[in-house]
């Protein structure tokens, strides 16, 4: 089955199309990378799919049904810079926010919700930081908090916006382990990714994007020199999986 299907998506800022004629489908249970140059509209694509940005047109289906947040089958990890880290809250509290959809109106988090949040903290190696104000965490730790929060959302399809940016090696490892575990459980994970060196290693499905879909398919078919050049245009410093650096122009 398809985890995500997008038909005829268009997004415009000030009447200028940022994304145009986007058609794509992502198979269920895949680890998908969205790859493209700066300004290609990668974050915009995720935000438009999830309804945080207004779409000029487009149909979105998640797991075969029109997307509706109330189905609670979608989890989201925003870019780290998108929230106010000075907010008066601590790590455990932020993770609990992932449960708010399940808890429903007028109710407080239950003991079960708190236990789930603690379990997620533990899983990401953050058990000792539950009471920490979030500004006092390192970049990698903040990212792990976001992932723990997505985990407790207990979704089927996860969207993550650049989770590997600015994190230490230990966090990168923790994140990729978690993504693989989610895949193993049959979940679908769609990640905006900027590090071309790790695409082949981490992801089995790849979407090349530059204002529209350039290519979409299994990574080994899509992640080719020609298609990458088409995506990035002009010059591209391309790191092959074996590590030799070539400049394509």
């Amino acid at each position: 089955m398809e985890a995500l299907n997008v038909k005829d998506l268009q997004v415009a800022y000030d009447r200028k199309a940022v994304l145009d004629q986007v058609e794509l489908s992502i198979p269920q249970g895949s680890l998908t990378a969205i790859v493209g140059p700066n300004g290609a509209g990668k974050s915009t694509l995720i935000k438009a799919i999830l309804g945080m940005l207004k779409r000029s047109s487009g149909h979105i289906s998640i797991l075969g049904k029109p997307y509706n947040p109330k189905n609670r089958n979608v989890g989201y990890v925003p870019q780290r810079g998108s929230v106010d880290w000075d907010f008066p809250t601590n790590a455990l509290d932020v993770i609990l926010m992932g449960r708010y959809g399940h808890i429903g109106w007028f109710k407080r988090p239950s003991k079960g919700d708190i236990a789930l949040a603690k379990e997620a903290l533990h899983k990401l190696g953050m058990a000792d930081y539950a009471d920490r104000q979030i500004r006092q965490l390192s970049g990698g730790q903040q990212q792990r908090i976001f992932l723990a929060r997505a985990l407790v959302q207990d979704a089927e399809v996860y969207f993550m916006d650049e989770p590997f940016v600015g994190v230490d090696a230990k966090t990168e490892k923790a994140i990729i382990d978690l993504l693989r575990e989610l895949k193993h459980k049959g979940k679908t994970v769609i990640v905006v990714h900027h590090d071309l060196q790790t695409v082949l290693e981490y992801f089995d499905h790849t979407l090349l994007l530059n204002r529209t879909v350039i290519a979409n398919g299994p990574t080994e078919q899509v992640f080719t020199k020609d298609l990458l050049q088409k995506t990035y245009g002009g010059t591209l410093a391309f790191f092959s999986p074996t590590g030799d650096k070539r400049v394509m122009s």
């Binding site: 945080m52 609670r72 989201y76 929230v83 106010d84 008066p88 809250t89 509290d93 007028f106």
Partner: protein, 288 residues
């Protein structure tokens, strides 16, 4: 209750209701919107008076809430159409406020509604304008503030986690299916009614300080939003009480003294807060 007792109670209720609602403006970084709404509310009050031909609190609440929401909406629309946000705020509220001032000078000259009163409030008159509820004679403004404070407490405790999440991470709230815009307007509605309720007591200019300063003090005291709300109510009430006695001592404007007391409390918190005070930060810098 004595004359002084009513004034103190009224002032504390202003501090508590504004302090509570103001917390959310602080954590959403929207304090300029408080400035805008508190000024626009004047237009709502005048319009309510012109339509209903009465200074009854209920009409004022309705009028001011509508205008408060229109203000928020107008600012948002201007901003969306490409005007900078701070400029949108400045354009909308000054215009609305100015229309309010013109309307007062045109139509409402002979009633208990004048520009100076609207700007500065006059808490000293409040105990003389009363009604009787359950056999107790209470000042109208105090009764209205009591209802508003209870209402704000109820709304905030009912929607606490939604208010918190939409303040911290609106994007996540959208994916969880929360009506983010509705919650935003709910909060702005609360700001509007709190501003009207406090209007009589402190006026359009100084209600801003009551909406912003207690929350700003509380922000320096804790890492928990719930605790911040409590602190903010305390700081609000404290600046009201200290301000009142300060005014007696100096024989000065009560609303002015209350705001000044808020400012002094902020300075003290900024220096001495055990959590984020300057002294504390200085000491941790030295030891690390």
């Amino acid at each position: 209750m004595t004359y002084e007792g009513w004034i103190l109670l009224t002032a504390c209720l202003v501090g508590i209701s504004c302090g509570m609602v103001g917390c959310f403006l602080i954590v959403r970084r929207m304090t300029m919107l408080a400035d805008a709404i508190s000024h626009s509310v004047l237009l709502g009050i005048v319009l309510a008076f012109l339509v209903a031909n009465s200074l009854n609190g209920i009409y004022m609440l309705i009028g001011a809430t509508i205008i408060g929401l229109v203000t928020t909406f107008a600012i948002q629309s201007l901003h969306n159409s490409g005007v900078q946000e701070d400029a949108s705020i400045g354009i909308v509220f000054t215009t609305f406020f100015a229309i309010g001032v013109i309307l007062i000078s045109l139509f409402a000259r002979d009633v208990h509604l004048d520009v100076e009163h609207a700007l500065m409030g006059e808490i000293a008159f409040i105990p003389w304008n009363t009604y009787t509820v359950f056999g107790i004679e209470i000042p109208k403004a105090t009764g209205m503030l009591l209802c508003i404070t209870l209402f704000a407490t109820l709304v905030i405790s009912m929607f606490y986690k939604e208010l918190k999440l939409t303040s911290f991470d609106a994007a996540l709230a959208v994916t969880l299916g929360l009506p983010v815009a509705l919650i935003h307007y709910l909060l702005m509605g609360l700001v509007s009614i709190t501003a009207v309720g406090s209007f009589d007591a402190v006026g359009a200019v100084l209600v801003v300080s009551m909406l912003v300063v207690p929350g700003a003090c509380a922000y320096l005291m804790t890492d928990r939003l719930s605790v911040m709300l409590l602190y903010s109510c305390l700081f609000g009430a404290a600046s009201a009480v200290f301000g009142y006695y300060g005014a007696l001592l100096l024989d000065a404007s009560i609303s002015g003294s209350m705001s000044a007391a808020g400012g002094i409390l902020f300075l003290l918190t900024w220096f001495f807060s055990p959590r984020y005070g300057l002294l504390r930060r200085f000491r941790t810098m030295k030891t690390s």
